[in-house]
Amino acid sequence: MKSTFLAAALAAGLAATPAMAQTAPAVLFDVGGKFDRSFNQAAYEGAERFKRETGVQYSEFEITNTAEREQAIRNLARRGASVVVAVGFSNRAAVETVAKEFPNVRFTLIDSVVDLPNVQSVTFREHEGSFLVGMAAALASRTGKVGFVGGMDVPIIRKFHRGFEEGAKHANAQVEVFMNMTGTTPAAFRDPTRGAELARGQFDRGVDVVFAAAGATGIGVYQAAKDAGRLAIGVDSNQNHLHPGTMLTSMTKRVDVAVYEAMTQARAGTWRPGARVLGLREEGVGMAIDEHNRRLITPEMERRIAEARQAIIEGRIVVTDVTAAR
């Protein structure tokens, strides 16, 4: 019995040495699931791209309750993953604990920061991308009223909201910005019915462009916009294709790139710990223009937004980050 434990421990130790680069990566999806068409799905697509290009099957796990996080991450680490990618700010505590236990395993945490020598923390400057779509909303609005539907009322969603509001006001100082949060539990990220209700409520108040930063809840918002003939703005993934004609644009947050890069870097041996902050400059966030929304974005809008983008990159416009340490 003892010798098997010893062998297992040795194997675990070995797996963490150079051979590790050959093993498969692992990804942990957050509540909402990998098919939420938004945040988690972006991570899923990054992992799938890695699989397509390398032929390496990654292991995965979808979280259902908070208590599972630490256990799932430990399970993935123990099986000798080349890198464990934990998607979502809620995994911060669990990554911190497990990364200390497995100093030879690499962890990439998306959307939050853990300061340990074997953790790579990837965060995004969502407020910058939200600023651009806020401008787009204000410029496309005929009523001068734009809306925001958030998921769970947590700091990171407030960060989207503030950026959106500042962008809208930058484009049109008179614009009125309405805001609703879907709820106060994680279920707020997967409640399309309520999302649609909130969007309709805003439409009744004159809003004609609505931005949803709410995971799977957004699907209801976009549908409501389509039904009412208003415009909606997608989030995280490029969601323009969902309802061509009423999807004004999407605030893209390249979680897919972050996941893909963590996995390929771990494979190539170029993975580095530390904090990576991806903003407009790094093209970690942006505004999606493609064949589905081309005709909704006028050249004038595009020009003004491109100008602002450049100004933010150069620091001439500073967008407020509400999550920055006070």
Partner: protein, 365 residues
């Protein structure tokens, strides 16, 4: 003298739950076959994952600790004829009480911190339970409605506090800083280390023993005290209770306070033991599972403990199942857990007539 169709006790507490459980597992097996996986393998992974090795057992017991607390909470209220759906909110608010002590009084010696956190958790939970109790007793607002509403109020309040007041800034996550080592519950690993036993790392902690003590005390309270008797009489027949000189309103408020305090103790396990920080939505639906646990455990503390163990095993084994078998997604695991709740809770009387025909003693003339 038993009424017609009533069963011997051993049938009621052993055979009936086992029959329900077997049927639930059989049906789950069919579902597993339907998605193209091997049900025997799935069952093996589930059992292995729940009780197969020391770490699995530790996790099962950790989940079970939560379910003992929330199950007892529902059971106590049920003895007074009240359906407490608010365990979730009561535990959530209790987490606030525990966290306030662990964050701001952590300079005190450990035993004092522990006792204060225990008192704060139970107190906050009790208060959150007693208000709906009072509304039921004095205003006639139905307890089911008010406790559900209080869950939402708790969630709104806690999210606000965690997003704006108590949060540890700079991480984007709605949670407080980690408690200092002197303000946490020792883990089972640590405690077994004291007596020289090597245990795997797990979130199982001192709260497990608190759960067992709580179950014992609930039993004593319900069956062997005058207050417990009053509570049961009110639950059985409010008119009779009033005639016997018991104040039903008072009994209802007390029952809900105790129920809330028990649900609140779950926060000790989660906040002070496992996570060692207050985080948003830490209750994870455990409060609701407590309803199924109490139903299955027939509102008896021993039954609640056994049912909690079963649900703990299902949670832990289910997580392993989703992990090991690619064809079985997390939704499948929820389906399997749901079937078990359905058969053991909602359909618990399905086999009763058949078993009654088999085992019930003929009525004496």
């Amino acid at each position: 003298m038993r009424a017609k169709g009533e069963l011997p006790a051993w049938i009621d507490v052993v055979v009936l739950p086992l029959a329900n459980l077997t049927l639930a597992f059989a049906l789950s097996g069919l579902v597993v076959i339907a998605v193209g996986e091997d049900p025997v393998k799935a069952m093996r992974v589930l059992v292995q994952g729940a009780i197969g090795h020391p770490e699995a057992i530790a996790f099962t017991l950790y989940y079970a600790t939560n379910f003992v607390f929330t199950g007892l909470a529902v059971a106590v209220a049920f003895h007074a004829g009240l359906f407490n759906i608010g365990g979730e909110g009561q535990a959530y608010i209790a987490g606030l009480g525990v966290a306030l002590v662990c964050l701001y009084l952590d300079f005190l010696p450990w035993p004092l911190v522990f006792l204060l956190a225990l008192a704060a958790g139970m107190g906050f939970g009790a208060a959150w339970g007693a208000v709906p109790g009072w509304l039921q007793a004095r205003r006639g607002s139905h307890i089911v409605i008010t406790t559900i509403m209080f869950n939402f109020i708790a969630a709104a309040l806690m999210t606000y506090l965690l997003s704006h007041v108590l949060l540890d800034p700079g991480h984007g996550a709605p949670e407080t800083r980690r408690f200092l080592p002197g303000a946490t519950l020792p883990s089972m690993q640590t405690m077994l280390g004291w007596i020289g036993v090597d245990a795997p790392r797990s979130p199982l902690n001192l709260a497990f023993f608190l759960a067992l003590i709580a179950a014992f005390l609930v039993h004593v309270y319900i069956r062997h005290t005058r207050w417990g008797y009053a509570l049961r009489v009110v639950g059985q027949n409010e008119q009779a209770a009033r005639y016997a000189g018991i104040d039903p309103g008072r009994a209802i408020v007390v029952a809900m306070a105790i129920s809330g305090a028990l649900a609140g103790m779950m926060a000790l396990n989660e906040i002070m033991g496992a996570h060692q920080r207050l985080l948003a939505a830490f209750t994870s639906g455990f409060g609701f599972v407590g309803i199924a646990v109490a139903l299955m455990g027939r509102n008896h503390p021993v039954g609640v403990c056994l049912a909690a163990l079963l649900f703990g095993a299902l949670y832990q084994g289910g997580a392993e199942l989703a992990f090991e078998m690619r064809g079985i997604s997390r939704e499948m695991v929820i389906v399997i857990q749901g079937l078990i709740i359905l058969f053991c809770g909602a359909l618990e009387n399905m086999f009763r007539p058949a078993l009654a025909a088999l085992f019930a003693k003929p009525e004496r003339a």
